[in-house]
Every structure is written in structure tokens, then in C-alpha cells.
């Protein structure tokens, strides 16, 4: 990797200040950024680690019953600390990568990176979560703007993610055999006011909501309600591990399984 300055502030304000430097880059758990640096594919002037900011750590339940996860909270922490309050989210976190990844990688890093095959974007979008930053709150529906693209401004830090807790939810992940990212992952959440279905791994546009499935499930919450429903293969990813048609098919299968798991 190229040389860079390293800073590890202990407050959000100090982190924001450090990120104001030209070509400074925020560092979450580094599970994407560090390999990128090692391949010399990025050359930030400074890395600003967010892992020393205590107010961005941990999982808590807010007054309205929603679960709030600090932006620098590792997947392993979510897997254990959200297990009782939001089991489907904890299960999602527990399926990311391997133990080493889960003990370094953070929710803020994953959501800000918006890898089209990452698990968290499906959990955030499927839950209708709110992304809180140092400057504002962004609804999940407005946050993910396509592959590796989000509504975040330069230097903006995800301080926490607030998840409303659904009546039932399930994350169904079909593994890409090499990376074990999601070849297709479906996060389904059933709220009193409706069902949300978010799909990761499948689309060239990154995580998306499958609205036809949501409507069908709002009418009848059963796997059979999805009979005959398919996402359009046109925008699906095609690569070594699966064709567009295969991914489109898996979206249906994984969604049905999520419904079955919630029924």
C-alpha cells in the first residue's frame, strides 16, 4: 500500500474534522478498504479510524422499541447483542464472512460501502431503518443509490442505524461459493402496516425492494402468494457464479423461504 497518515479520534467531532483534510478516508473495520489499499487501488492521504469513538459502539433499544446500532459496531457484537431484541438482524450479522471478518467489520463500513452483494444493505432496507449521520437522518429508502453508491456526502459519518423491529423477519442468504457474500440474499420484514422485501446480491443496481412481492404478501402472507411472481432478469448480475436467470430464480426461492420462516 501507499503511505498515509493514520488518525484514531475519540469523538465524532474530531473525526469529522480529520476527514475534512483533502483525500482523507474514513476507516471502519477495513474489511474492504484494507485489501483495496494493499492492492494499491486507493491512495488516501489519511485514514481516519472510527473504531475509537465510544458513542458509535454497541447495540441499544430506544424508547420507542427500535434497535439502534452504533456505526462502529462490529458484526460479531450485533450477532450477540441484538439476538434477543432483533433476532433476524442478529442472524444476518452472524452470517457475514467468517469470525475474523465479523470481529473487525462494522455496520457503518458495510452500509457506507454498499457492496451489491453485502448482507447489511438488505437488512437495513428490508427493515426500513434510518441511517443517522453526524449531520442528518436518512431513510433507508433514500440512502442506497446503486452499486457502491449512497446518499452520504464526502466526510459524512454514519453514527448509528436505527431499526424498527418488525413482528417477524427473516434473512435468507444463498452463498456465492467463493466469497460467501450473498449470491442472492433476501431480507423480509413483516410490520403491522405491511411487508418489506429487500434483495441483495442480485441486481446490477445494488440492493432493491421487490415491490410486487411486497404487494402480494400484503394481500396474503404465504409462500403461495408468490406463485408466478419473478423479478425481471434483465437487471440481474451475471458472472462466473450465476446467470441473470439463475439469480432472478433465486430471488423467488429465497423470498418464499423467508416467508415460510416468518409464518
Amino acid at each position: 500500500m501507499y503511505s498515509f497518515e493514520f488518525e484514531k479520534p475519540s469523538t465524532i467531532a474530531d473525526a469529522v474534522a480529520a476527514l475534512a483534510a483533502e483525500d482523507a478516508q474514513a476507516l471502519g473495520g477495513g474489511q474492504t478498504l484494507i485489501p483495496t489499499l494493499k492492492q494499491r487501488l486507493a491512495s488516501p492521504s489519511a485514514l481516519v479510524s472510527l473504531s475509537g469513538i465510544s458513542e458509535m459502539q454497541g447495540v441499544c433499544v430506544e424508547d420507542d422499541g427500535s434497535v439502534s446500532v452504533g456505526g462502529a459496531t462490529t458484526h460479531a457484537t450485533v450477532a450477540s447483542e441484538a439476538a434477543n431484541t432483533y433476532p433476524a438482524l442478529a442472524a444476518l450479522a452472524g452470517q457475514i464472512g467468517d469470525p475474523a471478518v465479523r470481529n473487525r467489520g462494522t455496520i457503518g463500513g458495510s452500509v457506507a460501502n454498499n457492496d451489491p452483494a453485502a448482507c447489511y444493505p438488505a437488512g437495513v432496507l428490508g427493515s426500513g431503518a434510518t441511517i443517522r449521520t453526524n449531520t442528518r437522518e436518512i431513510a433507508a429508502d433514500d440512502f442506497f443509490e446503486g452499486m457502491f453508491s449512497t446518499a452520504l456526502d464526502d466526510g459524512e459519518i454514519i453514527t448509528s442505524v436505527r431499526f424498527p423491529v418488525p413482528q417477524a423477519a427473516s434473512y435468507q442468504k444463498f452463498l456465492q461459493p467463493a466469497s460467501r457474500f450473498a449470491l442472492v440474499g433476501v431480507f423480509l420484514a413483516r410490520f403491522a402496516d405491511g411487508v418489506r422485501v429487500a434483495v441483495t446480491g442480485a441486481s446490477e443496481d445494488g440492493v432493491f425492494r421487490w415491490s410486487e412481492a411486497e404487494q402480494a404478501l400484503n394481500t396474503s402472507f404465504s409462500p403461495d402468494a408468490l406463485m408466478g411472481l419473478h423479478v425481471n432478469p434483465m437487471n440481474m448480475i451475471a458472472d462466473l457464479h450465476g446467470s441473470k436467470d439463475y439469480r432472478a430464480h433465486l430471488v423467488s426461492v429465497m423470498t418464499k423461504r423467508a416467508v415460510a420462516a416468518c409464518s
Binding site: 500500500m1 444463498f174 461459493p177 467463493a178 466469497s179 457474500f181 462466473l240 457464479h241 439463475y246
Partner: protein
């Protein structure tokens, strides 16, 4: 009762203590005072003409010692190929040069263009980025069949085409083969691909070159399976150095799987550069470099045809294979699709007429060479897939069809050049049927179906030829090396023993198993025997470890040297006991006079050998013997495997639920180590069958250049294995009666897995004939919905 020491005991692997406690000494652990680091600038273009390589900016960068390009190696030899194959018309193979750094053209992504030696690796990388390379991109030659057409772009401009050789084995009369097929009651045909693999040993390759100006001596530390072979090739063919001035050390090596047999450009470079820079030079491969510079494996495209008579006897077999050699000839690449592949096409069957045709192709891809099994998995996969397809087409039991055609009389001369010395294929199949509980399969299938899964049973037989030999025969077949091995047994004065062996241990457990043999022969504790390997300055000239040869070949040399030691020790004992040498018996470390209670201990004899006060004058002092051993034939391990899979009909996901191996390895020295070898081999075979796929796009870009896209098998991809090694027909021509077990699992398992998947799909009403490996979920789903 299992033995607790010596031959046949599952002695715990003594080397594991240092490996598991972080006390191993790998090449990357070796740092020589004053060393510099080299970074290779590698081509990101698959095929192109080098217009210019401007290093001027790089040379002035901080820390740079020297920048090398292909020009610095003009007049230096290229990387040699160790086996000259003769084509079916009697002409030698086309053998293009393979320079250390690219000259004139780049021929694959990863081909090294320049090398920067600097004080630190980061400085070397910085400087490499300042090298200005102008490449005129040419059409990449990727598809083998297209590459074979007249008018194809040439990988090597000086060759007449991209075909290294067009080779044939077995029946030479095409008309006779045609007649067999024309008269057959049934012909089964199958087109298939044996997928390209990357070996991916846990330890990437490393080389450290050192030059001592005062004595004009070189040392190369390298991740090699065969240090003497590297020294010979590098000295005699590449750099033109006197062998006695060059020491090659391969210390602990973290897995080889074939890919560390070969002499690589980076080794020659570090040795050369150490003198040119007058500093030690170190190279450590990154994982990315490993994907684009370690020799790959397999990559065959084949058509196989099996002819059967009305009674389902195999009457003819014909194969046509395109074998990818990549851009250059790696050290033993030419032998893999020919003498290690065509010769195995008879398998376990007495097919009377066999014709094997192989076109070996140059393409703009990483060179392909031996990978665990090397040619034998490719042969087994074709044969066992076509036999399974024939059974399905004929509606007969796949085990019965195999049994009916087994070779049962030994020795057996195959139509493809081998003589199987011994075996018991029906007996081994009996062991498999019991160990795999095949009788219970129907109930397991019903249980799977109740869970919404399709369950399939795949059967496979294999034979392999290990310990390739003898040297005079392989020499006639084109080998440019001998294939003997050597051992020196050095008995120390106090009775402990150092055994210097030509074989190299990089996971095989030699350090445990070899002493079991020597200790058993003498009757002393295993802990008194230590193996020394991996250093040309310490060991006799041996050929190293590959092709499941170590115990059968080097172990035999070790036995012969130990026999010489015992013979001499008996003469000394006879003197001490004032008895006739013929009356001396050795048992449990005691020399005794037959029929008396007179005896002398091993340690007293060894001490006498080195403190020869009371000593037979006609006997030389000391107790050290060397033996070289050149086998009379290959050894022929064989086995039968059963794989059970579940297929998720909704997603095409395959899960291996049960895997049972019945192998005949002849006599076994350490059953635990043999079980472990088979486990590892099956793991790699399941990897090939279900997961691993080295893929290029049409422009020669490597699509699977990291673990993000190259799927290695993980622990949860494989089941607990059942292994049965009780079928034992000892090898008839080596002193231990051993065969070789290192590659069997990787040879025997891929067809078993694929056969099982197809059985599962067909049981579910999906008439699927074949799916190419890796049998990934997407491919299974496509086949089911095709």
C-alpha cells in the same frame, strides 16, 4: 491389535508439534543479512508485443538497487522443460524458449516484464510503477480448439502452429479402432471438460538468493518439493553455474500439491540477481501473484467413446483430448497429458483396444503442469464418467458393469503401455460396498426425499501409477531426468540415526513415517531416528517428492541403506561376540548369537564402530551407508469410492452427505497418515468437482484471480469421510510392498461426486447426461431446467 510403534503403527506426526506451535521454519522466515527485495512487474495484457520498456525513471527512485528487464538475460538460458514428448509422426514436440523475463512478447497475464530490486519491497513496488512499458496488444489465444486451427494467431511466432505435439498412445491403426466401434452393440460418447485449477498451497512461493563473493558460492532458499532437481535445472540449463558451488535449500514447505515441483523463473532470478547486485535478494509471492504465476493444473477438453458388446463387455475405448499447456512449457508439463494420462486410460478394466489422442496446446494463459494426480485424474474422470453414462444408457447397475469388466489376472499388460503388477479390484469393491453401507442407500434416499431433497449415489473406481520409473524406460519415453531416489543412513556413535533422504516432506509426514521403518528394521525406538531433507548440502542426490513416490522409491533406498548398515553392524557384533557373522541375529536392538544367550546391544556395536579398539581389522570404521534405488516398475494403487449427495431441487445446491473410500495401497507404514492423505485428497477432489474453477475471459483476463471468485473447499463443504484400507495387495517389486497414497483421493473423488449428482437428478426425473465441473448450483439448476 494395532501396533504402537514401528511399521504399521499410527505414530503421531512429530513434525506437527513445530507446525502447530508456530515453530516451523519456512522460506519466508529466512532473512539474510543485507538482503534486498525484488518486485516483478507483470503483464496485465494476455498477449502483446513489447515495443519498449523504459526503466530510466525507476532506476533513480529511492532505495532502488537495480532494475532488470529481458535484455539483462539475453545469453542466459531460459526455463527448461524436463520431458521431450515425441508426437505420433515421430517428430519432437515444439519447444519454444521461456525467458526469465519477457523478451519480445508477453504471453499471459502475469508474465514478468521487469524486476526491481530495492532496499524494501514497497520501494521496489513504487519504482515498478515508474517503469514505462509500451505493449502492442495482440489477439489473445484462449480457446484450445480455435488455437489448433490453421491461421490462428500464434502464441510463439517462431513455431509453425500452437500445437506443441499431436500425440497418440495405444492402437495406431485407426481402421481397426473404427471397426471395433462399428461392430459394437452399444457405444457411449461423452464430451467433457476437466476444469483448470490453481493449486493454492497455504504457503505462497518464496525465493531468497544469496551469493558469497569470497568463495564464489550461491545459496538459494526456495519453496520446493525437490531441491536437487531445482539445482540441476538451474545450474545446467538456465544460469550455467557449477553445481558444487550452488546449494539449494527447501526448508519447511507449506504444501506443494505439484505446483512446487517446477523450476520457476523467480528462483533463477533471485540467484542471478544476488550476484549481479552483490546482495541477497528475496521474493515473496503475494496471493494475487500466485494465481497468475504458479503453474495451474488440469484444463483438458475431451471426447471419450466407449464401445461395448452385446454382453456389456468393454471392447473399445477412444479418446480425443485437447490439453492446455498455457503460454510456456513448465518443467514437467509435457509429460502430464501424455505419459501420466494416456497410460491410465485402461483404468481397472480389461478393454482390449484403446486409442488415446492428445493435442497439447499453447495458449495465452498461465503455464499448466502437474497438480495432485497429474494426468491420472483427467484419465479417471473421463473413463469413470463414460462408464457411468453407459450403465445408465444400458439400464444396468453401475457396480455390476464395472465388476464385469475388471482386470482380474495379474500381472496384466494394458493396451496403453503399463503392466499392472498386482491388485484385487473385486475385493476392494467388496470392502467399499460394506464400508459405505450401500445396502442402506435406499432408506437414506427415502429420508432425503421426505426432506424435499434429491439423493444420489456415485460410484467410482480408479487406478493410479505411482513412483514413475524405471529411469531407463522413462528416458526412452523422453524424460530428461532419472527417477530413482537416494538415502544415506548415518548411525551416530551413541546409536541414534540421521537419515538423509532425497524425498522432501511438505505435508506428507516423512519425518514420522520414515523413522518408523528404520527403527522397526533395527528394533530401536523411533525417537532415535531423525530424517534430514531439503538441503542439497546435506542429502544425497534425490529426485524429491511428487507422484506419490516418496515411500515407494526413496523409502526403498532407505531400506536398502539400512540393510547395508545392519549387515556391517552384524560383522562388528560377530567380532565382539566372537561368533560367526552368519550366526548373528538382530532383534529388538540386540545382536545375539543364534541358539545362545550371548548378545550385544545396538548401542555397543555403534560405539565400537566409531571407537574401534576391539574391532575387526578388515572392516572399515564408522557406520554410514548410502543407497540409490531405481524401481523396476510403477506401483499401482487402486480403489473404489462411493459418494452420496443431496441436491436441492429448487436451487441446484449440492451437498456431499457421505463419502467412503476403499483403497488398496499395499502395505501401510502409518495408517493415520495414510488416512489423512486420503482425506486431503478427497477434499481437493470435492473442491474440483463442486467449487474450484480457474476461468479466463476471451481476452485472456483471469476472472478468478482471488478467493473472491476462486472457490476453495472449506471444512463445511465436506463430510466426515469413511476410509477403508484393509484391501491390501502388496507391491511386488519394492522391499516394503508399498504403493503410494498421496494422490489417490484427488484422483478417485471427482467422478464419484459428479456421478452422484447425476444419479440424484435422474432419480428426480431429470434426464441429465452430464454437467461439467465445477458442478456449481447455477450449473445444476441450468441442467435441471435446460
Amino acid at each position: 491389535m494395532p501396533k504402537d510403534s514401528g511399521i504399521g503403527a499410527s505414530s503421531k506426526r512429530r513434525e506437527d508439534v513445530r507446525f502447530l506451535t508456530g515453530a516451523g521454519n519456512y522460506t519466508d522466515d529466512i532473512n539474510v543479512h543485507g538482503q534486498a527485495y525484488v518486485f516483478f512487474l507483470r503483464s496485465d495484457i494476455a498477449h502483446g508485443r513489447l515495443k519498449s520498456v523504459d526503466t530510466s525513471a525507476a532506476e533513480g527512485m529511492p532505495g532502488v538497487v537495480k532494475v532488470f528487464t529481458g535484455k539483462d538475460f539475453e545469453g542466459v538460458g531460459g526455463m527448461p522443460c524436463g520431458w521431450e514428448v515425441t508426437d505420433k509422426h515421430g517428430a519432437p514436440m515444439q519447444e519454444p524458449p521461456h525467458p526469465i523475463l519477457a523478451q519480445g512478447k508477453v504471453r499471459h497475464v502475469g508474465d514478468p516484464i521487469a524486476a526491481v530490486v530495492a532496499d524494501s519491497l514497497e520501494q521496489a513496488r513504487d519504482a515498478a510503477e515508474a517503469i514505462d512499458v509500451d505493449i502492442e496488444e495482440l489477439t489473445a489465444v484462449i480457446d484450445m480448439k480455435a488455437a489448433a486451427q490453421d491461421g490462428s494467431t500464434l502464441v510463439h511466432d517462431d513455431l509453425k502452429n500452437n500445437i506443441c505435439y499431436d500425440w497418440q498412445l495405444g492402437e495406431t491403426d485407426d481402421a481397426k479402432v473404427d471397426e471395433v466401434f462399428a461392430n459394437a452393440a452399444h457405444v457411449t460418447t461423452l464430451d467433457l471438460v476437466n476444469n483448470r485449477l490453481v493449486a493454492n498451497p497455504m504457503e505462497p512461493r518464496v525465493a531468497v538468493g544469496e551469493y558469497k563473493r569470497g568463495t564464489d558460492e550461491y545459496t538459494l532458499y526456495t519453496t520446493s518439493q525437490n531441491p536437487h532437481v531445482i539445482r540441476l535445472l538451474m545450474c545446467a540449463f538456465v544460469l550455467g553455474l557449477p553445481e558444487h558451488k550452488v546449494r539449494v535449500v527447501a526448508p519447511d514447505v507449506g504444501g506443494g500439491f505439484g505446483t512446487k515441483i517446477f523450476h520457476y523463473a523467480e528462483e533463477a532470478f533471485c540467484t542471478f540477481a544476488a550476484k549481479a547486485c552483490n546482495r541477497p535478494v528475496k521474493w515473496t509471492s503475494s496471493r494475487t501473484e500466485a494465481f497468475m504465476s504458479d503453474a495451474h493444473g488440469r484444463d483438458h477438453v475431451s471426447k471419450i467413446e466407449l464401445a461395448l458388446d452385446a454382453e456389456n463387455n468393454f471392447v473399445g475405448l477412444r479418446t480425443n483430448t485437447y490439453a492446455n499447456l498455457g503460454a510456456y512449457l513448465s518443467t514437467f508439463s509435457s509429460s502430464v497429458p501424455t505419459w501420466l494420462h494416456g497410460t491410465l486410460m485402461a483404468g481397472n478394466y480389461k478393454t482390449p483396444v484403446i486409442q488415446v489422442n492428445v493435442k497439447a496446446m499453447f495458449t495465452n494463459t498461465v503455464p499448466v503442469d502437474a497438480y495432485r494426480g497429474a494426468g491420472r485424474p483427467e484419465a479417471t474422470f473421463q473413463l469413470e464418467r463414460v462408464v457411468d453414462k453407459a450403465a445408465r444408457e444400458l439400464g444396468v447397475d453401475p457396480i455390476a458393469l464395472r465388476r464385469q469388466n475388471f482386470v482380474t489376472q495379474f500381472p496384466y499388460d494394458t493396451p496403453v503401455a503399463l503392466t499392472y503388477d498386482t491388485g484385487d479390484y473385486n475385493g476392494t469393491m467388496d470392502k467399499l460396498e460394506a464400508a459405505a453401507d450401500l445396502a442402506g442407500f435406499a432408506a437414506r434416499r427415502a429420508q432425503s426425499e421426505a426432506n424435499g431433497k434429491l439423493r444420489g449415489l456415485g460410484i467410482n473406481c480408479y487406478i493410479e501409477a505411482c513412483g514413475i520409473a524405471p529411469s531407463n524406460i522413462v528416458g526412452m519415453l523422453g524424460a530428461r531426468a532419472g527417477l530413482y531416489d537416494a538415502a544415506t543412513v548415518r548411525v551416530n556413535a551413541t546409536g541414534s540415526i540421521s537419515v538423509m533422504v532425497g524425498a522432501h516432506s511438505h505435508g506428507q509426514g516423512h519425518e514420522t513415517a520414515f523413522p518408523q521403518v528404520v527403527a522397526d528394521m533395527i528394533g530401536i525406538d523411533e525417537s532415535m531416528v531423525e530424517i534430514v531433507h531439503g538441503d542439497t548440502s546435506k542429502i544425497p542426490f534425490g529426485m524429491g517428492t511428487y507422484g506419490s513416490r516418496s515411500l515407494a522409491v526413496c523409502g526403498s533406498a532407505m531400506v536398502k541403506a539400512t540393510e547395508k548398515v545392519i549387515e556391517k553392524a552384524k560383522r562388528i557384533a560377530a567380532h565382539l561376540l566372537e561368533a560367526s557373522e552368519a550366526d548373528i541375529e538382530l532383534k529388538d536392538g540386540q545382536f545375539s548369537v543364534a541358539g545362545t544367550d550371548k548378545s550385544v546391544a545396538w548401542g555397543d556395536v555403534t560405539l565400537t564402530a566409531y571407537v574401534p579398539h576391539n574391532y575387526p581389522l578388515e572392516v572399515e570404521p564408522g557406520l554410514e551407508e548410502t543407497a540409490f534405488y531405481d524401481p523396476a516398475n510403477f506401483t499401482f494403487p487402486a480403489g473404489a469410492y462411493a459418494c452420496e449427495v443431496e441436491v436441492d431441487p429448487e436451487t441446484g445446491q449440492v451437498s456431499v452427505e457421505k463419502f467412503t473410500a476403499a483403497d488398496d495401497f499395499g502395505n501401510i507404514i502409518n495408517p493415520m497418515i495414510v488416512d489423512g492423505q486420503v482425506h486431503g485428497g478427497i477434499g481437493q477432489g470435492i473442491g474440483q468437482a463442486l467449487l474450484e474453477n480457474c476461468a479466463y475471459d476471451e481476452n485472456g483476463q483471469l476472472l478468478s484471480a482471488s478467493y473472491m471468485d476462486y472457490a476453495m473447499p472449506r471444512a463445511d463443504d465436506v463430510p466426515f469421510y469413511g476410509v477403508d484400507h484393509s484391501s491390501q495387495t502388496p507391491c511386488t517389486h519394492n522391499p516394503l510392498g508399498v504403493k503410494g497414497c498421496g494422490e489417490a483421493g484427488a484422483i478417485g473423488s471427482p467422478p464419484a461426486v459428479v456421478n452422484a449428482v447425476l444419479d440424484a437428478l435422474n432419480s428426480g426425473g431429470k434426464a441429465v447426461d452430464h454437467i461439467d465441473m465445477p458442478v456449481s448450483p447455477s450449473r445444476v439448476w441450468a441442467a435441471m431446467n435446460g
